[in-house]
Amino acid sequence: MPRVKIRELRDDYARFELRDTDASIANALRRVMIAEVPTIAIDLVEIEVNSSVLNDEFIAHRLGLIPLTSDRAMSMRFSRDCDACDGDGQCEFCSVEFHLMAVCRNDETQDVTSSDLISSDHTVVPVDYSESAASIDASDGGGITIVKLRKGQEVKLRAIARKGIGKDHAKWSPAATVTFMYEPEIHINEDLMESLTLEEKKEWVESSPTPVFEIDQVTQQVMVVDAEAYTYDDEVIKKAEAMGKPGLVEINAKQDSFIFTVETTGAIKASQLLLNAIEILKQKLDAVRLSEDTVEADDQFGELGAHMRGG
């Protein structure tokens, strides 16, 4: 039965270990996190005034890619499934309305950013990237730049944001990157290692592109300093063979132990993304159950049924 152990957890980043489960489930979770966890993103833009240097569809495209805080997404309905609205997919249950009004009146270039978007629902707003690291550069609390205006240029528009999934369009994907790797098991053959001079040991440790091994200053022994930095390139193995010492180290991938790295765009918290992914995967499995009536109907109306009745 699967176990999870969290290594690192931040708002938009999570690193955890998934044990005692199969690669297909790890991969299914990865695929669902990227493509099937729902988010909210701008999907319809009505432009009233646009005298900027970017054309209408260019601005509409950029608006669609802005990440919006989507905690509401799991409980919201898809526009196509909504019966409350009059068919145009714009009611309060299935969509969120945004307004953007910007006009440049001074000589300086005005930056229209995601913070200028006004939402009709305060729980669905453009993600704020200003709080943590590196706010000294261009993104100084302004948000994502949509368009820049010169004196006299104006942009006035109304946008509708809807629920969607990454499979439909990448703007709805809540994941920046989701990766998993097999946990490596490294065994150093100590006897063979002893037969190497310090120079040879240093050379061998250097041959690894990532810092997996290190030579302990005191004991002059080769130690594994970061097993997970190993990227399954066989450089150290090839180097050992080239030096005439095959079998110097044995590296196996543990077949049921995975290390996941999840980074989100900020639309959903990293921990919440994993929980939503599990929920979505369960929903998908529930949707494909076979019931007695499906089987009966197929017997009756399927090709075999027709054949048996002489059709």
Partner: protein, 107 residues
Amino acid sequence: MNAPDRYERFVVPEGTKKVSYERDTKIINAASVTIEREEHTIGNIIRMQLHRDENVLFAGYKLPHPLQYKIIVRIHTTGRSDPMQAYNQAINDLDRELDHLKKSFEV
């Protein structure tokens, strides 16, 4: 110009069933389950779970064509079980495994 709409990958159209079941005429205890608008995400985990069942002799899935958004899962069982039972059992086991995973994460 000829590209189908993106939502075709996951929206089952009116009149098409999500899951259908067809028994094999020539082999006993063998059947194919066709699942519309699903792909490797579901296909691989169902196949893997079916392999863990000792009553299942054969289990495999395929996408007949990458532009046709469906999968076909083929199951052969021994006399002690039947394909539909094995399939539903596999889904129940996966559901339980995911429940366990969710609980283990929330702690």
